[in-house]
Symmetry: C2
Subunit: 145 residues, 2 copies
Amino acid sequence: VKHKDFSQSTCPIARGLDLVGEWWSMMILRDAFFGATRFDQFQKSLDIAPGILTRRLATMVEAGLLERRLYSQKPPRHDYVLTERGRSFFPVLAALSAWTEEVLANEDVARATIDRSTGVAADLAVVDRATGKVVSFDDFLFDGA
Amino acid sequence: VKHKDFSQSTCPIARGLDLVGEWWSMMILRDAFFGATRFDQFQKSLDIAPGILTRRLATMVEAGLLERRLYSQKPPRHDYVLTERGRSFFPVLAALSAWTEEVLANEDVARATIDRSTGVAADLAVVDRATGKVVSFDDFLFDGA
DNA sequence: CCGTATCCTCCACGATACTG
DNA sequence: CAGTATCGTGGAGGATACGG
């Protein structure tokens, strides 16, 4: 029996984490956004055990984030390419990356060690498409109340 | 010895996940954004075991996302309130929430089960503050290349 | 080069009982 | 109400060997 199963949850955050919440998933997506498609590209870049990479790749294909595309008949070889759904996850990763950089900017030690080239964006904001307004926690509070 | 320790990683995504990557962390943040501050508010809302809630709360305080604030001397009682760092995580959660709703909008069964009130935003976009442009994967590709 | 198979470890999480 | 204490488990992740 699975510990956490939120595939039936009504909360979009829980459902989202159900799809990409495993630790390596986001890292694999990051590499995919950077152009990786081959098994060993992911493997070397992430320094991940091959067995667990196989598993993560499989669940992500199942979740519709990646597509397994045959590029060689014999021996059978596959590319793992982002689906539309996977590509649409980009803003989330960008937001996370931007948040971390913002947070670490205040820590002297961390600043020197952060490699911006592995980040995806510098300074991001989330806006409401309808109004064009920046979505902040304070706005959220007002709207919600 | 810890399995995954990316506190020294140079990748902002890995570092970010190191701070909020545990499954319940984001759910706790969600509740905090919705106004929860007391132990049992989180506990009942999330239906989480008290022991693990204690641990998650402690690590999140340690990570600087929450602040433990004494509101009663005897017996000693605490509020868990968002720090500035915690509040600044809001856009990430908003982006994740928006992504999930977008993804599930195409699934008939899911559509009926999603409760928008537990999401944080209807239709969001992530933009670059400097240019005001919407951040998409395709733009990223062009900029990167 | 692209994985699969196997075995192992550890810790996040679950359940429950209990206390000031 | 606001937790602490204890015990148990499954699965994510690790290491390595092997195969087409």
